[in-house]
Structures are given as C-alpha cells and as structure tokens.
Point group: C3
Chain length 337, copies 3
C-alpha cells in the first residue's frame, strides 16, 4: 500500500516532465501546471471500462460530419467519433461539440516537425521533395485526396483525414494547440495559443471545403503575382483577440497585416504560394512566408517548409520577422462545420 | 432562395475546374464534361443517409476477398467494402462487382507522383532511397507485406492493402484511371484510359498472387540478363483494344512490344528490373523502362522511379520513347479475382 | 483433379522460395523448412470462414490492452485483436496470450529497412532527415504519439501503434523475429532469434510505458556524457540464454557488455543516444552503436540509422564490431504487460 502511494507520488512528479513547448512569455498559462491537468492526467492512465464502452458504442452512429452527429443523434460531448465518407470509408476524428453551438469536425492539422527542414520528410503541407521549381505544387496535399496521420497524433505530426475533401461545409474553426499536447486536453480553453471561427458561411462560395477552394486558388509556385490572394474571411475569437494575434507574429510582420481574418492562398515577392494566413490578412508588403503556413513546392531556398520562414530572425526570437515560439511550436488544427 | 440558386450555379460552374489530367487527344472522352459526371457529382455532395447506412452495414459481411463477398452474400454493387485477412486484420477496399462476372478486389495502385523525381519520396513501387545499386530491391514493396495509402486516394497516391499478399487469386484485372479521378467515377467505362483482365487463371501457377509471383521473379537490380522476364499473359479488353494500347506508348517503344498481354518482371539493357508491362509483351529490344512500371532500386541514373522513363523524350510528348500523357498521368489499379 | 494435384505440388515447391533472412549459422532452425511451417502455410491460403468470423467477432470486446482482454474476457489465443485507446481510438494489434501467463500487447517493432541507409526514409526509430546535429531528437518517435505501420507488416517495416503511449504497463517482452516472417508463424518458438521478458514491474517506476520512460531519459544527441544510461533491467529468457545472446553480437562488442538485461537510453563516445540495448547491459567501453538500437538524430556520420552500426566490420560478418546476420536481419518486436 505504501508502495502504491509512493508510486502515485512519482507519477505526480513526472507531470513536471511532460513539458510540451517551452512557453517563455507570461501571456500563456502553462496548462500542464494546472490542477485540472493533473487530475485529468491521473484519471486517464487508469482504464474506465464504462467510459471505454461508451466511446466504442459511438461506432453505431452513421454520419459524414460532426455536424450531422450532433443534429441527428444529439451528441454533445467533445471527443473522438466515427465518420463515414459518401463512398463508405470509415475513419475516426475529433468533434468539437461545444464551441458556438458545436458540430465542428477536425479535418486536418499542420505541424512543423522541424523548422530547420527545407521541404524534407515531414513537410507534407508543402513538399517532401526538396525545394524544387519543377514541382510547383509540391506534395499537392491541399488539393488532393491523400490522407495521413491519426487524430491522436494531430499535435505531433501532420494530419489529414477524408473529411477534408468529403464534407460539404459552410464555416471553419482553427485551433493553435501547443505541440504534443494530448487530445484529452485540447478543449481546455487555456491550452490553446489561439482559437477562432468564421460565421459567414464563406465555404458555400468556394465549393464547400478547402479541397475545392484550393482548386480555385491553387497553392502552386508561380501561379500568380506578388500580393495575389484568395478570400480573406473575418473571424470571431474563441480564445485570444486581435491584439494577441498581432503579438504572435514578429515585429516586422506586424506592419504588413491586419488581424481578425483568415486568408487563403497568399503569394509573396518570390511568387511562392502559401495556403493559409491564420488570424491575419496581408495588407501592405508581402513577406507572407513569415506569417502564413503551408505552401507549394518552391520558395526562396532558405524558406521552403510547412511553416515556411517563421524562424527568419532566430527561432522564437520575437525579433524582426521571427514569429513567436508559441506560434512556431503549436500545431494548427483545422475544423469544418 | 435566389441565393441558393445562385450558389447552385456557382457549384455547376466549378465543375469546369475539376480538370484532372489534360487530355490532348480526341481519342479519350473527358469524363468531367459529361452530364453523367455532373449529376453524380451534384448528388454526391449531399448526404444520403439511407445510402450511408447501407454502405456502413457492409461491415457485417465477413470475407477475405470481393469474390467471396459476391459468392457468399451475393453483393453486386461496385464500391467500397470491408475485408478481413486470414489473421483477422480488417481493411476497406474497392470491389468491381460487374466486369466479366464481378468479384474483383482492388489490391494496389501504382501512381507516379512526380515524373521528375528519381526514386525519391513517393516512389514506393520502386525506391524512396535514391538510385542506389547497394539497394537492389529498392523499397521492396512488390514482395513484402508493407501497405500504404487508402482506397479513396488510390488515384492520387500509391496504394497497397493487405489483400495484395493475403488473397489467393487466379486472375488479374487492370484499370488505368486518370490521376485524381474520385472513386465514385471509376466505374464509368469512359473514364478509363485502358481496362483489361486475364481469364486463364495464371496466378494458380505462381502462388496465387503478385506477392508470391514476385518471390519467384524478383524485382531486383542485376538479378538477370537483359530480356529475361517472367510470364506474359494474354488479356481480354474491357476498354480499349490492341491498337489503342499500342498508341498509348511512344513511337519508338511501339517497335519493341506486342500488345494484348500483361508481362511481369522485365529486365532492360542496364539490368534494371521492372515489375509490370501493362498491356504489352516485350519482343525485340529491351528499352522496357519506357513502357513498364515499378522497379527495383537501381536504374540508369535518369530513369529511377515508379514510371521509370515514361518522359524520356519530353512528358506526354508522343515523341520517340515518351509515353502518352494519358498513360503517364493515370494511376494503374490492380485487381485480383 | 489431376490438375489440382499438380497445382498443389507446385504450391509445395514454392515454399522453398519463401526464404526470409539467410541464416548462415547452424544455431538457428530454419523454420520455413519445418513440416509445421508447411502445414500452417497450406491451411492459411484457403479461407476458413468459421475461423474468419471468430476473429472478426473479437471486435465486440472492449479493452485498452491484451492484458485486459485476457483478464476480462478470458481470451487465451495468440493473434490479432482490437484495442481502444482511452480517448476511443480503435486499432488492431497482436496479443501474446500464452508466454508466462499471457496478456502481452505488441506496441512496436524496430525494423532495419536498409543497413546502408544513414538516417534516410524508413529510419523512423532514429531519423529520416539525414544525420543532423540540428535535429538532436531525430524523428522523435520514442517520445511522441505518432504511429506507423500495421501489425501484419511488423516484421517487414517499422511499426508503432497507439498502445505505445496509451497503455499503462508494468513489464516488457521482446521478440527478435526474422525479417518478413508472417504473423501466423511468430509464435513458433523456434522461429525467434531471441525472446525474453522482464518480471520486476520496472515500468511502474518510469511512468508505465516507454513513451513516459523516454521523457525521463531522452533519446537525444548530446543530452549526456558517454556511458550515461537509463535503467538496465534483468530479463527472463523465453528463447535463448545469456550465452546465445552474447554470440548474437560481434566479438569486439562482447567485451563491452553483460548479457541478461534490457537497457534503456545508452550514450556512446560521440554523445549519440540509443534507445534500447536488447539483451545486454553496457559495462566497460561505450561503443554502443554496435549493439544498441534506435536513436536520436545525430551519430558519427557512418552510423546513423535504426540499427546504427551493426555492420561496422561487414554485414553479418561475425567479425570485429559487426553483429550477426540473424540479429541484423530480424525485427525487434516490443510488447507491454
């Protein structure tokens, strides 16, 4: 018995070691140091069979999106559910059933596995083939049906599930979650670096999802001129605000954009294409490689990657064009509704 | 209401943008411009719950192949089904339940992600390790149990499921489907560049599947002499004919082969090994890298890749040794029965 | 009928061709030449529907580990089962239900796809980014939630399932199984190169699994001094013994370690980190790259890889620092209980 209590103590101590991103600033609560985190963690390591059977029984529900799960079956709990594509392919993903009415399906995450890699293995949202003008689309994953990763590794690896192309949606929600934070903590609001959603049903105008939107606005090198871009959609904040969004990017970047938007397919001075400017709209100057993510297959040689040049003036340096460490070391989770 | 009608109009317009491969010749119908395509597409974006439940209920059937699904349960509809390996591993794939009596299981697709890549990331049917004589088998996927991809991405990425090694079959069927064409359109006959099957039960002589066949005929650099090859099996056409097969490869290649066959494990002048010559049998001259696919880990330096040297005289150039653009930009779907 | 008998004969002949690793020494029985192998193989190629339904019905059991499957449902047969993570993610893996009381969950395998690759594609347990001191953790898979591979390809590719981080365990079991041996033969004792397990519940002290253990002892370049290491745990042999363990590594390596242990996170002279020394504890001299597996992202340039420098004095050469061919061409299967 004493042994068990000692083990429990060791267990609690080891929580200290579960550091995810180092968070240098005091703006962000270190969620791993909260009592709520410790309690959830403690509960989670033991098997709760009642709960386990409950989540397994979710497999009897048939739907193509979390919105349909909420509407048809009144599912109201955040977590992992089963979805089916129109063709009958079964997969599992995370549903946010609470934010702004719920019904949000996680369809993808963009994760920078190494800010030093230049379109190398792991850069699935730009290119794994090296910086190469002969491959202007790079891996092409913004506009194909390839999938990768799993829902539980969405904060430690790139993730894309069939919902990305299969679901017909109206709005998007975006969560920036610190790398490696386990799924069971994602919905603690304090855990997020930034969270927002759109409300104007813009996806109806662009084919119903990002797969279709990026067919209209290809994420491709040399497809347009510097400053060309796709839609910039106003956002509603769920965690953070315009001012905190501004501060997440570098001081030099802040002069170029307006916060309060999500922008699709931006093109920079070198004619490189980026997929998403999260939280901002480029307005003057187009050094978008420092604050937009994803891309085609060719950039300035030192910039190719999933978070192209977020470390231009040193990683997490808060200097010049460098994005903050919080932003650089957080995965970008993309939801549809 | 007017809004909805306008959106519908935008939706229909955007069908134009769903171009897959550019098809320069008039031989091939552009399936995306047909009325049938537009109607299927329109229906598909809305969720039909009755249909969704039907395809999910397919999970109660237990079988190791589509042939068993057809025989035991009289399943007659083309589409995505659940299969189980002899060891109990569950997976999903596409069944062709109509061609020549049906019961065909999709077990793999060979997709060229970049004709410019030389055994780089994405060349899973040759090598992702660079052109390397120290790795004569390359990735070795023709004769191992590794799997990759998903059924819905089989025209946009390499695909291999457990059926490749688990199913004991007699015949093969091959579909060349334009890159990125969605699964729900694969069975439109006009969509295919080429389709054929064998009828002589040749796989009984080679262990029952490609996994076993390629153990007898290794897809390995330097394993044999120029001109050595495995079996060449006569085919029955389901779309196309001998003459259209000939025209799909380059003018110089046409002098070297006889159409109307599928040939396994060809060896070229440089002692490089290829896995499948689709639609043809090499007869005189062995520049098979221009019309055979898949391979070991070492080729002439400019040729290593899943479609080794289909672009020798310019991509889709219809010149010299270059295969046609239709062939080069189509995935090769492999079925067993 | 005669035809069928002939085919059967061809089928039996082809068993000869199913060579996996060449096994040069007489210490190891070539399992593929045994009568038991031939019989299992013969049975396996035909579909046994009763058996197929039985393994599919395992999906109704709900548990987080094979130990729970054995305890709650009295499952006693080795094979493939369904497990569910605490968050509800469903996956399949292999359960060893017999060794030392059973209840062992396969959570990972370490497979060397090419002893000549130097942290290239396929080196998921070290780095796929090249030998790079800027990426001291390499791919980081020893301490993240990424998963890859499938249970049936665990002897032909790297494998990691959610159990690696989700299961709270006490002991480990390790099987060295010749590359490419099919799952249906893994539990033939004679098939293994080496098999052992721990009995002292050491994982209770290190967070309950390798995911937590390697947070305390990071598999990272330059994280400690030569000779630093994590725990070395005594093992109980299930196949092999201390002497046979010694002989599996090179003559020079044998002077440096003591057999009869599994050791975690060893550091060599060049400050490179390795994850597991299987069967041994380094005692004097720290050329651990010749007998420990997995690693961070930076090694001596000629050594980076999943089995870092097992071929130092020629592959399978039994000379100097070279590990035996049996060891180098066997996958390392990791189980929890």
């Amino acid at each position: 018995m004493l042994h068990n209590i000692l083990l429990l103590f060791v267990g609690l101590l080891s929580l200290e070691h579960v550091s995810f991103a180092e968070v240098p600033s005091s703006q962000i609560v270190n969620i791993t140091e909260t009592r709520e985190y410790a309690e959830r963690m403690q509960n989670f390591s033991r098997t709760n069979f009642e709960r386990l059977e409950k989540v397994r029984n979710r497999s009897i529900r048939v739907a193509r999106s979390c919105k349909e799960l909420r509407g048809r079956y009144d599912e109201r709990e955040d977590g992992v559910y089963y979805l089916t594509t129109g063709n009958g392919m079964l997969y599992q993903t995370y549903c946010d059933m609470t934010t702004a009415g719920g019904g949000w399906t996680l369809v993808a995450s963009v994760h920078e596995n190494s800010i030093y890699g230049r379109c190398t293995v792991g850069d699935r949202w730009s290119s794994q083939q090296g910086n190469n003008a002969d491959l202007p689309d790079g891996d092409g994953n913004w506009s194909n049906r390839n999938t990768f990763g799993t829902v539980e590794s969405a904060t430690s690896d790139d993730f894309k599930n069939p919902g990305y192309y299969d679901i017909t949606a109206e709005d998007m929600s975006v969560w920036h979650i610190p790398n490696n934070l386990p799924l069971e903590f994602w919905n603690l609001e304090a855990a997020a670096v930034l969270r927002y959603h759109t409300e104007n049903r813009f996806l109806r105008l662009y084919g119903g999802n990002l797969f279709q939107l990026f067919k209209q606005y290809p994420v491709r090198y040399n497809v347009g001129s510097c400053g060309d871009r796709g839609p910039a959609i106003p956002i509603v904040y769920d965690h953070g605000d315009k001012e905190s969004t501004r501060m997440l990017y570098g001081p030099s970047s802040r002069r170029e954009f307006e916060p309060g938007f999500i922008t699709f397919r931006a093109i920079n001075y070198e004619r490189a294409a980026m997929a998403i400017c999260s939280g901002v709209k480029p307005t003057v100057g187009y050094n978008t490689e420092h604050y937009c993510i994803g891309g085609g297959g060719y950039f300035h040689p030192e910039q190719c990657g999933d978070f192209p040049s977020f470390d231009y003036d040193r990683l997490g340096g808060y200097q010049g064009w460098s994005a903050s460490r919080e932003m650089t070391e957080a995965a970008v989770l993309l939801f549809y509704r």
